[in-house]
């Protein structure tokens, strides 16, 4: 019998739990030469802002042991161009589109959510709160549970689309953060975003990134991400999408056992552009081997 990979997240029925993570999959179409993106559970597109953003000065990426640091600076085409130029093409491919969005003020977040809410062809919103709040001295929205709570509440008021809040790992208690966002009405959580890091060229005594610091991603962060998913899953009832260093079906299953209902693949897409498809097949193989009929049966199945 063919194992059942389908999952449901925030009212969204997905054919499998494998999604691609924001910022690592472009607007999806870049992967068309490699495989049929319609086979994915969903894709989370590159973070969208109200206005186009040029991004940071280069160098923007640098490799680190089993990972990479990036300081892209959220370069993106802006919401207008996304809706007019990218989304229609994605919709033609029959892929479930999750729109990742961010702002630098509450108002920007709200305006974006309103705008996206009124647009056809979007399955869910993923709110990136790992951004500096310019009105609050640049403190990142996602580092203060109260700020994240209030923002989530405001967004829930203006949208009927399922709202996934993407959590930053750069916090003291991920459980507390998860709970406060759930209390504000979030439909699901995705985690983790990148961990802030730094790498120095010791001969030039300069940071290897023009932006000084960057976000760490890749296998190096996986144990941190698995732990955080596990902690958050204990703290909330809403579904969690696990992200962080997933390179194989085994990695994906580890997150699911820790409590994730679905997963997103990030950095691995750069290294093997058809990895998402291979992971879907790998999960299926694992289920056959382990005689698991439905993937949802093993969500949060960690033994005590």
């Amino acid at each position: 019998m063919k194992p059942d990979l389908s999952v449901e997240i925030a009212g969204l029925k997905l054919k499998n739990p494998v999604m691609t993570a924001s910022g690592t999959f472009g607007y999806g179409l870049e992967y068309e030469p490699f495989f049929d993106i319609g086979q994915l559970g969903a894709i989370a597109v590159k973070g969208i802002s109200l206005k186009p953003r040029p991004g940071n000065a280069p160098p923007r990426v640098i490799e680190t042991p089993a990972g990479m640091l990036n300081a892209i600076g959220l370069q993106n085409v802006g919401v207008e161009a996304f809706i007019n130029e990218k989304l229609p093409l994605l919709n033609k491919k029959g892929v479930t589109v999750i729109v990742n969005f961010f702002g630098n003020t509450d108002e920007e977040y709200v305006q974006l959510a309103e705008k996206l809410n009124g647009t056809e062809g979007i399955a869910a919103l993923e709110m990136n709160i790992s951004c500096p709040n310019v009105k609050e001295g640049g403190i990142v929205f996602g580092t203060d549970p109260k700020v994240a709570h209030d923002l989530t509440k405001k967004i829930k008021k203006v949208t009927t689309l399922p709202l996934i809040v993407k959590l930053s790992p750069n916090v003291t208690s991920i459980g507390e953060m998860a709970k406060s966002v759930e209390d504000a009405g979030a439909d699901a959580l995705s985690m983790i975003n990148t961990i802030t890091g730094m790498s120095i060229d010791i001969r030039k005594r300069k940071s290897k990134l023009a932006n000084m610091t960057g976000g760490l991603s890749g296998p190096a962060i996986k144990p941190v991400a698995v732990r955080m998913v596990w902690e958050a899953a204990k703290a909330v009832k809403i579904p969690i999408i696990g992200i962080g260093g997933i390179m194989s079906a085994e990695d994906a299953i580890e997150f699911i056992i820790a409590g994730a209902s679905a997963i997103q693949i990030g950095t691995a897409n750069f290294i093997n552009p058809s990895i998402a498809l291979e992971i879907i097949k790998g999960i299926e193989t694992f289920m056959l081997e382990e005689k698991i009929e439905k993937i949802s049966h093993i969500i949060g199945s960690l033994s005590q």
Binding site: G23, T24, F25, G26, E30, Y31, E32, P33, F34, K46, P54, G55, A57, P58, P59, R60, V61, I62, E63, P65, A66, G67, M68, N70, I72, Q75, A210, G218, P219, M247, T267, N269, F270, I271, N272, P273, S274
Partner: protein, 270 residues
């Protein structure tokens, strides 16, 4: 849709051709047969996650008869060190051909190709194609010293004019390749276009020379790349913009480049 493939290619040979410089021939998926000079390939140098990212290399030449392509690379760090140690027979993970190539239509009858060190790699293939298109090709090859010169014998058999510049004066003109270019310009030699690949300071200098002499010129740039096919936005370079609301654009070296026209790139002080 882009024509590139993500697959395996068997290594046919991998040998040192000069101190710390290697040439590797890889059996290639068919798309490589149509590779343009200036395009590159992303190579996975290890099976594991250290190093995790692929490494970009210009295509040195394609061998359609043998269904293979070659790269010429310099050992500079961990990735290239691992690559140099891979034995023939191993299947290499390759993704390509990627990026824009040089525009051969710009060449005119007397193109000059200027290479700094391993920057000769994509220019070799360009020289070959320009010669077969009947052009009078000059290659200016700059290197640190005589021992750092690469693929000189192969270049000579192409039927091009090879001019060498060494920083220590151990062979040819003493100084940089760009010095040689300036000398040719002073002598009033016929130059219909310039194609350049090499270290950034060299490219910046070529760019300035091309602008001040009104030369048609293309430069092949490098950047640290995470993906190589346009999605990570990690490889950008500052370029002039046509949009009056902005001061500059960020263009991806892997997609809009690696080949840019003279005058397009905004060079930073850094």
């Amino acid at each position: 849709m882009m024509k590139y493939s993500n697959g395996k290619g068997k290594i046919i040979s991998n040998r040192e051709v000069a101190p710390d410089h290697y040439k590797m021939e890889v059996e290639a998926p068919t798309t490589f047969g149509e590779a343009l000079p200036g395009q590159f390939v992303m190579v996975k140098v290890s099976d594991g996650v250290v190093p995790i990212l692929r490494r970009p290399f210009g295509i040195f030449q394609t061998n359609k008869d043998r269904g293979s392509f070659e790269i010429l690379y310099r050992k500079v760090g961990e990735g290239t060190r691992l690559l140099a140690d891979i034995a023939p027979g191993v299947n290499l993970d390759i993704l390509g051909p990627l990026g824009t190539g040089f525009d051969l239509d710009l060449s005119g009858d007397n193109p000059i190709l200027i290479a700094g060190g391993v920057g000769i790699a994509p220019l070799y293939m360009l020289a070959k194609e320009l010669v077969s298109a009947g052009k009078q090709v000059k290659v200016l090859f700059g290197s640190r010293g005589k021992n750092d010169l690469l693929v000189v014998d192969e270049l000579k058999t192409l039927g091009i004019e090879l001019l060498i510049a060494t920083e220590d004066g151990s062979e040819g003109f003493k100084g940089y390749g760009t010095g040689l270019l300036e000398e040719l310009l002073e002598r009033g030699e016929e130059i219909s276009s310039v194609y350049a690949c090499g270290p950034e300071p060299m490219l910046e200098k070529v760019d300035k020379i091309a602008i001040s002499h009104n030369l048609i010129c293309q430069l092949s740039l490098e950047a640290i790349m995470a993906c190589g096919f346009g999605v990570c936005l990690g490889c950008v370079v500052k370029t002039c913009t046509k949009d009056k609301d902005r001061e500059f654009d960020y263009n991806r070296v892997c997609c809009e480049g690696p080949v840019f026209n003279a005058g397009e790139v905004i060079w930073d002080e850094a």
